[in-house]
């Protein structure tokens, strides 16, 4: 009971801090869409680093990551380190820095806007936004579902699932409508620091409690298949590489991450942030995922939600500490979801709604963005109540869906001969192929000894974007020069 009170207390405390930050951020906000969605491109190094960190990694790192290394072995550290620390780092330059330059020079707020302008096509803009929302919507729904389940478990059923998910949705609506990107990024920074501190404290605490890190790690040697040995079981080279590649490219096209490419204050900020990134992610992954693997060696069983970290902590650390980490994880879930809501709203209002109506003035559009948050969050919440199998499956495969966008976008950013038909073909065919691999039985999900359909689809998108561009001629509305303008300072 004391445990529940502590967890609920911490959660409520987090919400109050977030609201306070939201109010401060609101007072600083200009009433323009650029300020609401991108904090007027003003983020400094620490905030940019941690908002990207918390947005990208939070809920996943606390729950799914340790669960995977519990089931499959600690090689998940390598998969995620390769994905995030190395490949995403390189893409942060190749895609992110380029996007920052052209975004600043041309005033882009979203990916769809950036592509639509270059190819002189409103339809392309709507298509990119629609594809993104298609994958994002069920993913946000999954977060709400997770929050509802967690609150229900936390309160021993006193707060039912719908009230937990609804309460957290309502809180996020209030806070995101108020604060916009600036407040979201600030709370992310607190969240990221808190998350890192908690994971290390848990790592040291559990390690000490079982007689040292070495003793904890050695428990794995006795398990079936010896998870200490590199590779084996689910971890084939094809699985490791295709998972890392697919997630890394997917992450760059996730709206909430892609939009963060636009928000740095200056070139110097990006240059300072990038070298810190690989060290920061490895600092989080090693303790978080080793904890999951230790749990397997120590014979811990997962809880009713299928998570292994809570029971591990309850076994080896005091109740209040376990409560702190678990509540922190829920706060982490919210810090990912709020960013997704904000980005989802910007795609919805800016790229889908706005092109359909006459250009509204900026002040009105900023309010429209807030309305977008309400609409998006309410719809995902309602969807989360029904637990539709198809939506769950789309949410689970969202990373692969976003990964299909990455290569056509990179080709368009760098190759001035890319044509509208080329990018349509690249995006359209790879999306259709990937969707078919998920939903149509005759289209396999794995090729040539374990290469995922996501990676095959990415290659298809690349080949078609380049191939179709080569055999078609650009229309007069296309303007490759917009990507050659840079606002470098």
């Amino acid at each position: 009971m004391a445990e529940t009170a502590i967890q609920v207390g911490i959660l409520v405390g987090y919400m109050l801090v977030a609201l306070a930050v939201g109010v401060v951020a609101y007072r600083l906000t200009d009433r323009t869409p650029e300020d609401y969605y991108l904090a007027s491109r003003s983020l400094g190094t620490v905030v940019l680093l941690f908002t990207t960190f918390a947005t990208l990694l939070s809920a996943f790192t606390f729950f799914a990551g340790p669960n995977i290394s519990y089931r499959l072995g600690p090689e998940w550290i390598l998969v995620m380190g390769l994905m995030d620390g190395v490949i995403f780092g390189v893409l942060w330059y190749v895609v992110g820095y380029k996007q920052w330059l052209v975004g600043k020079a041309n005033g882009y707020l979203t990916l769809g806007e950036m592509l639509g302008d270059r190819f002189g096509s409103r339809r392309l803009r709507v298509l990119v936004a629609a594809v993104s929302i298609f994958w994002l919507f069920p993913y946000v729904m999954l977060q709400q579902q997770g929050a509802g389940t967690a609150v229900e478990a936390l309160t021993g059923g006193a707060v039912p699932y719908w009230a937990g998910a609804g309460g957290i949705t309502l809180f996020m609506i209030v806070y995101v409508t108020l604060s916009g990107m600036r407040g979201v990024a600030w709370t992310d920074t607190l969240q990221g620091l808190f998350m890192l501190g908690m994971v290390w404290a848990a790592f040291v605490w559990v390690g000490t409690a079982v007689g040292g890190f070495g003793a904890a790690t050695e428990t794995l040697r006795g398990l079936d298949g010896n998870p200490l040995a590199l590779g084996g079981g689910a971890y084939t080279p094809a699985y490791i590489v295709s998972t890392a590649v697919s997630i890394a490219f997917g992450v760059t096209m996730f709206p909430q991450v892609n939009q963060r490419f636009f928000v740095a204050k200056s070139k110097a900020v990006i240059k300072r942030t990038l070298p810190l990134w690989p060290v920061l992610v490895v600092l989080l992954f090693v303790p978080a995922f080793m904890l999951g693997s230790w749990a397997a060696g120590l014979g811990i069983e997962t809880n009713v939600n299928g998570n292994v970290l809570p029971p591990l902590l309850l076994e080896y650390t005091p109740t209040w500490f376990a409560a702190l980490v678990i509540a922190g994880a829920m706060a982490a879930m919210m810090s990912s979801s709020d960013s997704m809501l904000l980005s989802g709203s910007s795609y919805l209002t800016r790229d889908v709604y706005r092109p359909l109506v006459a250009d509204p003035d900026e002040r009105r559009e900023a309010w429209l963005g807030r309305l977008g948050v309400v609409v998006f969050a309410t719809l995902t919440f309602v969807a989360s109540l029904f637990q539709v199998g198809t939506l769950l499956e789309i949410g689970d495969t969202a990373f692969g869906g976003f990964a299909q966008l990455a290569l056509p976008v990179i080709v368009a950013l760098y190759w001035s001969r890319t044509t509208r038909w080329g990018i349509y073909a690249g995006i359209g065919a790879s999306q259709l192929f990937y969707l078919a691999s998920v939903f149509v039985d005759v289209v396999p999900g794995s090729y040539l000894g374990g290469w995922s359909a996501s990676v095959v689809g990415m290659l298809l998108g690349l080949v078609l974007t380049v191939g179709v561009s080569a055999v078609t001629t650009p229309s007069t509305a296309e303007d490759p020069s917009v990507y050659e303008r840079t606002g470098a300072d």
């Binding site: 550290i77 380029k98 890190f213 490791i240 090693v286 050659e484």
Partner: protein
């Protein structure tokens, strides 16, 4: 170095970082040192190297492949 050779050199460096973030040559090894599998230590060291590589890139070649496009157009 011309811009082109320089770009190729940095790209090869980045590819090496990607290729060896997983120590494939330790496949099957279950040796443990200082509380963690040795291959985890390799990965930790490799990501620190990645940070140094990124830092060197920001110092020596930032803008390569991206900023010169603008001067040509």
């Amino acid at each position: 170095m011309t811009s082109r050779t320089e770009a190729v050199a940095w790209a090869v460096g980045a590819l090496l970082l990607v290729a060896l973030a997983v120590p494939w040559f330790m496949w099957g090894s279950d040796a443990v040192a200082a509380g963690l599998p040795v291959w985890v230590w390799w990965h930790v060291g490799w990501l620190c190297l990645t940070s140094v590589f990124f830092w060197a890139f920001t110092r020596r070649a930032w803008g390569l492949g991206i900023e010169e496009v603008s001067t040509r157009g």
